[in-house]
């Protein structure tokens, strides 16, 4: 439960997910400790989202072991996994379309931490405070009364993130937060996720935009055909031959090297 005890927050061992004969997730291992920020990259169809679906209970693993704080969750319903402290966002801009942004976030806050018995009619003070905090962290406070259906794509993505944050997760899974956004919006989301990291949140992040992934992650995993082909720090990633071959390409790897170097220089 804590880093000192050595037990990871999330421990995945030999996880397989088959669709017919296709192994979308193939013998995957991953440990995430409290405070980690793990980025998962890889080509389209590598199994990244499927892996998130598997650990968040949306789509149960074919075999393997998934433990959250030492307790097996590989056969647990998604709502109960959320109650145990794992919340996720979706690649598609999922939202509760007919509800306001505030109500969207309120759902995460009111039901995400546990929901035993017949729920009360009203909302507790703690619930409302979690909503305010999540809206603030995701910079949606001014937009709280807009209807989810009507808001632009950036706000829809932030809204989904805010409703996950409002469940007060021990582990937050973020699936392609900046897909389809322009570079300026990517920077906005980056700042917001950096804010969540600064809050001490433990995060698994999937992203295709490599500069986003590399700047936020403390550890990077690259998947290909459902398998892990790389796990380690960002520097090692760019010089890893296999990653450059199947995913990045030499040009991109070069460009990212420069970006990291530039970013490191002014900070000393």
């Amino acid at each position: 439960m804590t880093p000192e005890s050595g037990e990871p927050l999330l421990a995945c061992r030999n996880v397989f997910k088959y669709f017919g004969a296709l192994a979308a997730v193939n013998d995957f291992d991953l440990d995430v400790h409290t405070g980690d920020v793990v980025g998962i990259g890889g080509p389209n169809g590598a199994g990244k989202t499927t892996f998130l679906d598997v650990i968040s209970g949306i789509n149960a693993a074919t075999s393997g072991e998934i433990r959250l704080e030492g307790r097996d969750i590989s056969r647990v319903r998604p709502d109960l996994i959320c109650h145990r402290g794992m919340a996720r966002t979706f690649q598609l801009n999922a939202g509760f379309d007919s509800l306001s942004i505030r109500e969207n976030v309120l759902i995460g806050s009111a039901f995400g931490l546990g929901d035993r018995g017949v729920p009360a009619v009203t909302y507790s003070r703690a619930m409302r405070e979690r909503v305010d905090r999540a809206l603030e962290l995701c910079r949606l406070t001014d937009r709280a009364h807009a209807t989810a259906r009507d808001v632009p794509v950036l706000e829809r993505k932030l809204l989904m993130l805010a409703s996950a944050v409002a469940t007060d997760p021990k582990l937050l899974l973020i699936d392609e937060p900046v897909g389809g956004l322009n570079p300026h919006e990517v920077d906005d989301v980056m700042e917001i996720v950096e804010g969540l990291v600064a809050e001490g949140m433990t995060i698994i992040l999937i992203e295709h935009v490599m500069r986003f992934l590399l700047q936020l992650s403390r550890r990077v995993v690259i998947m290909h055909h459902g398998e892990k082909i790389y796990e380690g720090d960002t520097q090692g990633l760019l010089s890893d031959r296999r990653v450059v071959e199947v995913y990045l390409g030499a040009g991109t790897a070069d460009r990212l090297q420069h970006m990291l170097a530039e970013r490191a220089a002014p900070n000393g």
Binding site: D79, H83, F90, A94, F96, I107, A110, F111, D115, P119
Partner: protein
């Protein structure tokens, strides 16, 4: 917004209370009280279909279940109907709970098919129930009436009892205000549930089930809650219906009534607070027109549903909302221009 709704509610309630004293024909009073009854059922249906987004057609079966439970309790156990109503309500909740359980792993149109099948099975069971029931022979051994009354229907189980209190002419006022009271309770109940935390879970599951589950909302729990919660007043309405007419028949589970009530929901506006009331009012009025062409009644209703599905999927309530939103926007724009 909520304030405005309260004012509308108060005005409508005042009109409904004054209505029988405005010199209207007795026939209209009777029509209005049936409208209240249907509006009660449709408001509960709106909770399942409109708010929780579950495409269930079981509401009419629950209504009939409440009516028959009341009739059976009154006839065979000599229970005063005022005791039978809440029992029928609770029995309806249990019935609906199991319907909800049966539908748990189904989505969309499959829920509609299963719940339609349940009401058709009820219809056939009642229609074909022809074995003489010993319960009916204790008074008059020569008669042969089945337990549910079969295709002939079942009567002789009592009424609200207003005839004894108000006399032979004014008893209908008693029925009228009783039905109105039920509708008021139903509207308040529906509004309260919709605004509550439970209502938020219903709406979450309606809008996006996968996301709702990922935010900790249990499908199992809230589907069963909505089925049970929406059934009590529906079954009570069935009991009130039986008490008003003094008879129940298999027409209560037959297709025409289901079509009539779902038309109210569609025309009024699925998921809209004022939808059931508007729909019940408009459809009762339209039905007066269609009565002249009795063969065409169902076809006419079908056409209305079709037209609304295509051109006004949000119903009359949705159209009014849209128009008033546009009017407000226009108004603020005009004011800004004139002040500038």
């Amino acid at each position: 917004m909520k304030y405005r709704d309260l004012i509308i509610f108060a005005i409508l309630l005042a009109i409904a209370i004054a209505f029988p004293w405005m010199g209207v024909k007795r026939y209209l009073i009777a029509s209005a009280l049936i409208m209240f009854c249907y509006a009660t059922v449709v408001s509960q249906w709106n909770l399942v279909f409109g708010i929780a987004g579950i495409f269930s057609l079981a509401q009419v079966a629950i209504f009939a279940f409440g009516a028959y439970t009341t009739a059976v309790l009154g006839r065979y156990m000599d229970l005063t109907l005022w005791y039978a109503f809440p029992i029928a309500g609770l029995a309806g909740m249990v019935f609906s709970f199991f319907v909800g359980l049966a539908c748990l792993r189904m989505r969309g149109i499959y829920v509609a098919l299963l719940t339609l099948a349940i009401s058709q099975v009820m219809f056939v069971l009642i229609q074909t129930d022809s074995a003489c029931s010993p319960l009916n022979q204790r008074d008059n051994p020569a008669t042969c009436v089945s337990f549910t009354g079969g295709a002939q229907g079942l009567g002789g189980f009592g009424s609200f009892g207003w005839r004894d209190v108000l006399g032979g002419r004014n008893w209908i006022l008693g029925d009228y205000y009783t039905m109105l009271a039920l509708l008021v309770v139903a509207l308040i109940f529906t509004a309260a549930v919709t605004q509550s935390r439970i209502g938020l879970a219903f709406k979450a599951l309606r809008d996006n089930e996968e996301l709702a589950r990922s935010r900790g909302v249990s499908v199992f729990k809230y589907q069963l809650i909505v089925f049970a919660a929406s059934a009590f007043l529906t079954a009570m309405a069935g009991g009130f219906y039986a008490a008003h007419f003094g008879a129940v028949g298999s027409n209560l589970v037959a297709f025409p009534l289901l079509l009539f009530l779902i038309s109210m929901l569609v025309v009024g506006g699925i998921g809209k607070a004022w939808g059931p009331l508007l729909g019940a009012f408009l459809l009762m009025a339209a039905d007066e027109v269609f009565k002249e062409f009795s063969d065409w009644r169902n076809i006419g209703l079908g056409m209305i549903v079709l037209v609304f599905m295509i051109f006004l999927p949000e119903g009359v309530a949705g159209a009014i909302e849209a128009v008033s939103k546009r009017a407000t926007r226009l108004w603020t724009a005009l004011r800004r221009r004139s002040s500038a």
